[in-house]
């Protein structure tokens, strides 16, 4: 531990500010509150603050950040993540440091985010122990009121001087280069610092009525609580304040911003929040978390359970910002969890702290936000609303996707949308996308001509396990547009026919003119090694149909299959799953013999932006293909 007088500390900060190669930010007053901001002089610092309006995450994960730029002539290119001035941040409280350490893990898990990590690498954190605790702070209860790492330097106010704990080489070098008159701490100083830390631990006015380790367990028992969430969320304004000010929240949206030339532009990401109404809404208008209680509940679950299951930490550091920023005052986790605990007690629910979760945080690669250029080589309208595109990557490479995976398709100036690959990987030079005209991107895509360019990222997602399915009997059940992703597996199987057992395809649409891949499927009727049964809900007078009429489940009784050896692959609109699965279960098909593919709003494609999350799973990463046994118990899945 070292000691520096306050006067010399100010000189230290001023010499940092004078160095033009550094950005220096620190806590300043703003109105009657505090905020991190650019420092012009050390005199602006308010290290005695209680809490800042926004956490320092804004320096690493800014409110608005350009990821990619594009030029219609040349395609897409990444904004260089390393093109930044090193930032010194002065005055970070331990709970905010704890939050940054959590965020480090979420941003590097599986695919690491270079924009975040470069800023973290080049930054210097000068922490300060809490002098004044805000009324809503409960950091001591979350174990975050003091911290032993994650900083380069940590200050403790001892009246006329600061005690400095050195946290890294960077910190030591910084002191060496810019500070004067730094002495070693004496035993008195060390004891004083210890006393200060102890005072902080007992300063919180917010108290849990139980041990916080119980939180994940409490939540797991409270998902469907009768009216609990409705009662607590009744006055929710869906304003997003609680998540926007949270130091551990990291959901983001990605938007296209063309410039006025219409030929160039940028793609940027901005903070998003799961409390906002359209967070889980897709182009068709379907909203997977439509009510305020749904979304209100999701925040607590993500913080207290889902991230715990994945990373082993409760994703809350007790800063109290959510609580103090909620106008109807319903966002205080202490109040909510206490309520939940007492209700559970009253109902006699037994609770034990959760067992050690299986944590496997590893980085496989960096996230790629930059689409590759590709050309539309063929375009065939299939129905009034659906078009089959054949795409070839400009650099000559092969997509090399697994059946069931999807790509993120970009159209210049419009944006990016996830579309499942409709062709089998056995077809190599090009790949196919069956696109329904639904929202902005798909509408614009329909207007493009052969020879025009699109951007492709991917393939993404967990596809069908073609190896595992070898030797099995396969029952394909496709509803409406579900035939599009299903076809990638179906055609793969046909191209490797000998490796698979019986193959049956059931395909249902609303009416005959909506049937996709018409000619291709009719040709199946001629094959002896495939059983093909189509159906329509109804047939209007002016259309011709000689096949089955009835919803898709009416076809299931018409098929003979052995539930022991048969695997059902089901893809269709959300409403279809419940009924088809029920009918399959009636035929004794085991849960783990049913494979489905889910759809959600997907932006980043790599499990970071949060939009496709269903309970603890990411559809873009853990899916979109799921084994039914795995998601059977997931309330938000079906």
């Amino acid at each position: 531990m070292r000691i520096i007088s306050k006067e010399d500390f100010n000189k230290f900060v001023n010499s940092l500010i004078k160095d033009n190669s550094l950005n220096v930010a620190g806590v300043k007053s703003k109105g009657n509150k505090f905020a991190f901001g650019q420092l012009e002089s050390a005199g602006e610092l308010r290290l005695d603050y209680d809490v800042t309006l926004l956490p320092p995450k804004k320096y690493f994960f800014p409110q608005r950040e350009t990821l990619v730029t594009y030029d219609v002539a040349n395609g897409y290119s990444a904004k260089d993540p390393a093109e930044i001035k090193p930032t010194v941040i002065v005055g970070v409280h331990p709970y905010d440091i704890a939050a940054l350490l959590q965020m480090d893990e979420t941003f590097r898990e599986t695919k690491s985010d270079p924009y975040y990590s470069e800023k973290r690498k080049s930054s210097i954190i000068i922490g300060v122990n809490i002098q004044n605790m805000s009324k809503s702070c409960f950091a001591p209860q979350m174990g975050c009121a003091t911290i032993d790492q994650g900083y380069d330097l940590m200050l403790t106010d001892l009246g006329n001087r600061y005690a400095i704990t050195i946290g890294s080489h960077k910190g030591a070098e910084l002191l060496e280069k810019y500070a004067q008159n730094v002495t070693d701490a004496i035993a008195r100083d060390i004891q004083l610092v210890g006393q200060k830390k102890r005072e902080i631990m007992s300063a919180a006015t917010q108290k849990f009525d139980f041990e916080t380790e119980l939180i994940p367990e409490l939540l797991s028992k409270s998902y469907e609580e009768n009216g609990f969430w409705e009662k607590h969320a009744e006055t929710c304004l869906a304003c997003g304040s609680c998540v926007l000010v949270c130091p551990t929240c990291y959901c983001f949206d990605v938007k296209e911003n063309p410039d006025l030339s219409l030929k160039q532009g940028e793609r940027l990401r901005t903070w998003d929040g799961c409390l906002l109404e359209d967070f889980a809404k897709i182009a068709s208008g379907e909203n997977f978390r439509p009510t305020r209680p749904n979304r209100y509940r999701h925040r607590y679950f993500k913080k207290g359970k889902y991230l715990f299951d994945r990373f082993g930490f409760i994703s809350c550091v007790g800063c109290g910002r959510c609580s103090s920023n909620c106008l109807p005052d319903i966002a205080n986790p202490v109040n909510l969890f206490n309520d939940m605990y007492h209700e559970a007690l009253n109902m006699g629910v037994k609770m034990v702290p959760p067992s050690e979760p299986e944590i496997n945080i590893r980085t496989e690669s960096k996230i790629n936000f930059v689409p590759k250029l590709a050309t539309i080589v063929k375009k065939v309208p299939m129905t009034a609303n659906e078009m089959l595109f054949e795409i070839k990557l400009d650099d000559g490479s092969i997509l090399n996707h697994k059946p069931g995976q999807f790509v993120e398709v970009s159209v210049f100036g419009v944006g990016e949308a996830p579309i499942s690959v409709s062709s089998s990987p056995t077809k190599k030079e090009t790949f196919q996308l069956c696109v329904r005209k639904m929202g902005s991107l798909t509408t614009k895509l329909h207007m493009l001509n052969v020879g025009e360019k699109v951007g492709i990222r991917g393939p993404f997602g967990h596809g069908f396990d073609t190896e595992f399915l070898k030797g099995k009997d396969l029952l394909f059940v496709a509803g409406g547009l579900g035939i599009a992703p299903l076809r990638s597996l179906f055609n793969y199987v046909l191209d490797n026919r000998d490796y698979y057992g019986r193959v049956t395809l059931l395909y249902g649409c609303k009416e005959p003119r909506e049937l996709l891949f018409g000619e291709e499927l009719i040709a199946l009727e001629k094959r002896a090694d495939v059983e093909y049964k189509p159906t329509v809900d109804w047939c209007p007078e002016n259309e011709i149909w000689s096949g089955n009429i009835g919803v898709i489940t009416t076809l299931i009784p018409q098929v003979n299959f052995d539930p022991e050896t048969t695997y059902a692959i089901v893809v269709g609109p959300p409403i279809m799953y419940k009924f088809v699965i029920a009918d399959l279960k009636k035929r004794n098909v085991p849960d783990d013999h049913i494979i489905i593919s889910l759809e959600r709003r997907m932006k980043c494609g790599v499990g970071k932006c949060g939009h496709c999350q269903i309970n603890q799973l990411y559809v873009c990463k853990d899916g979109p293909v799921f084994n039914y046994s795995k998601i059977k118990g997931i309330p938000e899945a079906l």
């Binding site: 304040s241 106008l327 614009k444």
Partner: protein, 245 residues
């Protein structure tokens, strides 16, 4: 072929059309993409042959409806610009006046002055394809809508409250400063510009699609606003939208 555009104004202050003039040099770039065939404030010429019509101002008289319907017939796309056109704007403040108790004393024979009814947004009369909210609209959002239309896509406008932008801009919440704000139920897209300038959100962009109005009214009362003043606050810009619910 450059799309033809035309500008029209009804009962308003012309502040939104001024924002277009405020595009300064960007007007020249914009003129590279569109052909302006009618813009009364700025040019003599007029043509009824246009693809996109931008309409400012509320409909406040029966005779305005005919004009609006004609514009709808002529145009492929109709864009309402500014709060008066998108939600009724400040004009709708008079809708709440108890017109039975108000007698207009007029000097002379002013029959046409009685030709006035509840001020309304233009989508109360004709279908509208895109909206640029705000009093006034911002030139950034106007350009965003124009660029989207030129690129053939439906303009994306936020369906979340101004709080989102206020928090991103790190403002001190109005309620923390002893003031009263309706940003919690007002549609974002303005980048919380009024709070950034040190005041409050007055609600000029209208309500979000699904506001929890009761909760917001409770919040205002909880923080010390009287019931009457709370109701009055909602009448300022939300008059027409609240009436419609």
């Amino acid at each position: 072929m450059k799309p033809k555009v035309a500008f029209f104004d009804f009962a308003g202050c012309e502040g939104d059309q001024l924002q277009i003039a405020n595009l300064e040099e960007e007007i020249l770039t914009l003129l590279g993409h569109v052909e302006v065939v009618s813009f009364r404030e700025v040019m003599k010429e007029h043509s009824d042959n246009y693809d996109i019509a931008f309409v400012e101002g509320s409909c406040t008289r029966l005779q305005d409806e005919e004009r609006l319907k004609q514009i709808r017939k002529n145009a492929k796309i109709v864009v309402a610009i500014g709060s008066c056109a998108t939600i009724g704007g400040i004009n709708s403040l008079k809708n709440h006046k108890d017109l039975v108790n108000v007698r207009q004393t007029v000097y002379g024979n002013k029959a046409n002055l009685f030709d006035t009814y509840a001020a309304r947004p233009i989508d109360a009369v004709i279908p509208v394809d895109a909206y640029v909210h705000g009093c006034p609209m911002t030139k950034e959002e106007f350009l965003h809508v124009v660029k989207s239309l030129l690129l053939g896509k439906k303009p994306e406008i936020p369906n979340y409250p101004v709080c989102v932008e206020c928090k991103k801009n790190e403002n001190v919440c109005a309620f923390e400063r002893g003031q009263f704000c309706v940003g919690t139920v007002t549609r974002a897209g303005c980048n919380s510009c009024c709070v950034n300038e040190g005041t409050i959100c007055w609600g000029c962009r209208g309500l979000v699609d699904n506001p929890n109005e009761n909760s917001q009214k409770e919040v205002l009362i909880k923080y010390g606003l009287t019931v009457d003043d709370t109701i009055n606050k909602f009448k300022l810009y939300f008059g027409w939208q609240e009436m419609k619910k």
